[in-house]
Structures are given as structure tokens and as C-alpha cells.
Symmetry: C2
Subunit: 219 residues, 2 copies
């Protein structure tokens, strides 16, 4: 195979944000791992046919939001998430190396998932094709593993905010796929912290009443 | 005239924000009152026919961004801005009651403008139909003045961030008109601080490659 025919997928941050820039609400707890009103961020996704199918549920709505979710899944070969997204949001339990309450049973990823953590833990194969690999050597090593698993498909950075910010600051993101939920959370965890300036290029824009999808190439 | 026929305009926050939520960059100075790279936020507007016309310049581009700016001007009867927007951004000079370097000559508003400030100062009539009235009794009194001046047209809250946040926190905004510039500033003045949660309803969405216009009704 000629070198020029080998394709490498993109590294895409894919995350839902409120209009005021939060990816989780204030005061996360075991009952509300996404903080107060944080689950409202994701109201747009729960009724979609593709989302329901990935969670083993029948029915659900089609339309532009569903198309976008389905296309995103089809183009993605591996995901990278943070320890908090694996263990169930931020809170006093987030560093419990044994906690995995968030993704019990059959997780909805159905692909290789790399969990950034300081706690070594054996790779777990779950029903439905999800594998959780615990990446303890930093974001660049995790990305190399995820790229190898994804082949020619994209690697999705699924959050949370600290993982997204690390990849952004290191210049490792090719695209930002930000789903803007029509809500002001008024506090919580911000997606974007302080970091170097960057030019973006809008490469896709879609919207329903429920959510606006902005996709940028990072310049 | 019957009471039911009297129309009152909307109160609209109209402001340009980076994707990471900033309305000005870091380290404002006299040379860069919008902070480092802050002028880039407004790159989308400088070449537009309507913007140029308001600044006494000929030529410029039409298209969706220009249409939106023109429609916004046509529907607006008065504006409210903060002291910093009057005196030239934030910085050590912002409380100089005599400074008005930002809007010397013929200002581009061409309508009544109410400046929120603690410094009483006589109303100024400028060439081209702009009047600056200095509102020292708080946001609600300023809004009452602006509504009276606007008649059946809208009142635009033009920023900066602290003025926008005061109106949002007080529940005085009917709509948010946020122009999202395709740039990450990486620091500076955030549009949204902490505040109560609110549901929004997307009422208009337009975009070019240069900027994405999101317009929400505040629930």
C-alpha cells in the first residue's frame, strides 16, 4: 500500500455545552453527577432513535439531530474519556479506583474506549463491544493507543472539561464538535478555561429547536 | 388609541462572543481596549456594507451577515451601553469621567444611547443623530428611559459583559442575540458569569463562514 493511501482519522472533541459555556451544573452529587440541572444539557439526545438504539431501547425520533449522532458514530473508531466520565461525574467518589457505576451493564459506546486515569486497572471487555482500557501514561500515549484502535476512523474526545482542555492546550484536536443546548446553567464546570488563542473554521452547522451543532476545524 | 394596540419593543442583548465565551481578550490597554486579539471578535462586521455606511464609509459586502445587521438596526430604537463601552474598554482610564475617546466625531449609533455610569454628566447630542444620556440611577431606570425613547422599537443592550450580566440577572432581557465568532481567545472578559439557570428558545439562526448568529428568547 502506498503511503499516500493511508488515511488517519481526525481527533474530534464532541461535547454538549450550555449557551453560557458549562458542560455540567453546580454542586455535583451522587444523585446528580452532572450537577444541578446538568442532565438538561442532554435533553436533546435522549429521545433520538440512534441514542435509544445504542442503549438497547426501541423507537425514538429521526431528523437532523439523529442524523448527526448516527453519522458521528459511524465515523468514530475509538473514544477517549476522563476518569470522571468513567466513574460517574465529579465528586468525592471520583478517585475511587473501583467505582464504575456510570457504565454498568452494557455501555452505549460499542467501541474501544480509553479512560485517562492515574489508577492502573486491567482492560475490561463489556457486553456489546465496548472495551475500557485505562490509560495511565498521559494524553499523548492515550491518543496513540486510540488512533491504533480507530484505524482510519476518527478518535472522539468525549470529555469531561479537563480532558477536553488538555487536548486543546496540547494542540492535539483537529475539530471541535460543540452541541449548544438552549439553556443557561448559571454555574458549574466550564468547557473552556484559559488557554492560547486559536483560529477556528466553521465546517458544519446544523440545528433543531432542541440543540445547535457547531463544528469547527481548529486552525 | 386602545391599550391593546400599543406595542412595546423587546429588550435584546446583542453582543459578539468567541467560541470559548469571551467578549474581550486578556490585558486591555489604551492601544488594545478590547484586550489582546479582542478586535478579532469583530472581524466579521468591519467589511459589511451596513456597518461601513453607519461609519460614513462607502462600499462593503452584502449577504446574510449584512442583512442581519441592517434588520437589527431597523428594529432598534435605543441602546444601553456600559461606562467601559463609552470610554474605550476596560482599563485604568475607564472611570475618567471626561474620557470619551471611543466615540469621538460622529458615533455610529445614530439613535439615543443610554450610558450606565456613576458619573453624572450632561446629555450630549452628537452629529448624525446619536445622543448620549448618562443614566446614574441603575439599570431599571435606564431601561425605562430607553423604552420611552425607543417607542415601539426594541431596546438593545450593547454590552459590555457586566451590563449584560446585570440585565440577565435582573430578568430584564427578552432575547439574547449572540454572534459567535470562530475564534478561541483563550482568556479575557467572559460574557456569562454565574447566575440563575434559564431556559432559552432558539428563535433565529443564521451563519456565514465568518460568524454564527444565535438568537434566543429568554424563558
Amino acid at each position: 500500500m502506498r503511503e499516500s493511501l493511508r488515511c488517519m482519522g481526525k481527533v474530534v472533541l464532541d461535547i454538549t455545552m450550555s449557551v453560557d459555556g458549562f458542560v455540567a451544573g453546580p454542586n455535583p452529587s451522587l444523585d446528580e453527577p452532572l450537577g444541578e440541572n446538568g442532565m438538561r444539557l442532554h435533553d436533546w439526545v435522549f429521545g433520538l432513535r440512534t441514542w435509544r438504539g445504542r442503549h438497547g431501547l426501541e423507537g425514538g425520533a429521526g431528523g437532523p439531530d439523529d442524523d448527526l449522532v448516527r453519522e458521528g458514530i459511524e465515523s468514530t473508531g475509538a473514544a477517549i474519556i476522563g476518569r470522571k466520565m468513567f466513574s460517574g461525574g465529579s465528586g468525592p467518589w471520583e478517585d475511587d479506583p473501583n467505582r464504575d457505576g456510570w457504565w454498568e451493564g452494557e455501555p452505549p459506546f460499542h467501541m474501544p474506549v480509553f479512560v485517562l486515569t492515574h489508577h492502573p486497572r486491567p482492560t475490561e471487555e463489556r457486553p456489546g463491544g465496548t472495551t475500557f482500557t485505562f490509560a495511565t501514561d498521559g494524553i499523548e500515549a492515550a491518543l496513540a493507543q486510540a488512533r491504533a484502535a480507530a484505524g482510519e476512523k476518527d478518535v472522539t474526545i468525549g470529555g469531561g472539561a479537563s480532558v477536553a482542555q488538555q487536548f486543546l492546550a496540547a494542540g492535539l484536536l483537529d475539530e471541535l464538535s460543540v452541541h449548544v443546548a438552549p439553556i443557561l446553567l448559571g454555574g458549574g464546570v466550564r468547557l473552556f478555561g484559559d488557554g492560547g488563542p486559536a483560529r477556528l473554521e466553521l465546517v458544519d452547522l446544523r440545528s433543531s429547536a432542541a440543540v445547535t451543532h457547531l463544528r469547527y476545524r481548529v486552525g
